[in-house]
């Protein structure tokens, strides 16, 4: 089945961020297609490479990046939500005159239209949030 995933909560604070990842991983392993993963609200914080959890804990950001590389996943961070919360890629850095960027590998910043398109294109949109 062609699935899309929406992640509405940030890493570590809310388990739904973990559940979204585990669901996506399990769906891929079961042979389903993931059309897109869309990060919204505090979910955009899953996409900063500056995350440094203790070494004996899971690295939520890195495991998304690794899953994206392995399966050619489309990880999209909402631009409006990202701007509010300081998630920046090179384009946003230039556009908004910031002194750096922090987007993690495999993630890209784009608009809310990508979420609607995912809802239209996928057979199921699965929302993870509180």
């Amino acid at each position: 089945m062609k699935l899309a995933v929406q992640v509405n909560e940030g890493p570590y604070q809310h388990q739904s961020s973990d559940t979204a990842f585990l669901f996506t991983q399990a769906a891929l392993e079961a042979g389903h297609e993931i059309f897109r993963v869309f990060f919204y609200h505090d979910g955009v914080n899953n996409g900063t490479r500056y995350t440094t959890p203790p070494q004996d804990d899971r690295n939520i950001v890195n495991r998304w990046s690794e899953l994206a590389e392995k399966h050619n996943l489309d990880l999209v961070v909402c631009v409006a939500a990202a701007q509010r919360r300081g998630i920046v890629d090179e384009g946003e850095q230039k556009r908004n005159g910031k002194d750096g960027n922090n987007i993690a590998p495999g993630f890209r910043i784009s608009g809310l239209g990508q979420l609607i398109e995912a809802g239209v294109q996928a057979e199921r949109l699965v929302v993870f949030g509180d």
Partner: protein, 136 residues
């Protein structure tokens, strides 16, 4: 632009302030309007407070975005469900909510009420009929 038209339901469950869910949900609805899908909204639980009249946010230094709901009709949002049980539990009635309307292009742009009061059981049926349910 997407060719396929699906039934999108936005479920609003949170109070308008306190968290950003309500405001960012409204942003999705407004942006999503460009995709010309069949859109309806639900307000339930504390989400019913999003539609209340007379919101005043100066004291908390947040933007009062409640006037935006009255523009939803212009964005082709014609169906707004409010759950009766959620209103009742909070001592609210439809009179406490904004009067939201849309213009019916099939009837010479007559103004019609967007808000429909529905029971929890009816809402379950409505959700069952959707293609995409986005919960905020």
């Amino acid at each position: 632009m997407a060719e396929e038209v699906k039934k999108f339901l936005y479920v609003n469950r949170k109070a308008p302030y306190g968290t950003i869910y309500a405001w960012e949900s409204l942003e999705v609805v407004l942006i999503g309007a460009a995709f010309e899908q069949d859109v309806s909204l639900v307000f339930m639980d504390d989400g019913v407070y999003q539609l209340t009249k007379g919101q005043e946010t100066k004291g908390i230094q947040m933007k009062n975005f409640s006037p935006t709901y009255s523009a939803l009709g212009d964005y082709d949002v014609k169906t707004i469900y409010v759950e009766k049980e959620s209103l009742d539990a909070r001592g609210l009635t439809l009179d406490d909510l904004q009067h939201l309307i849309y213009e019916d292009e099939d009837e010479d742009y007559a103004e019609k009420d967007s808000i429909q009061l529905v029971t929890s059981a009816e809402l379950a049926d409505i959700m069952e009929q959707q293609d995409v349910v986005l919960s905020f």
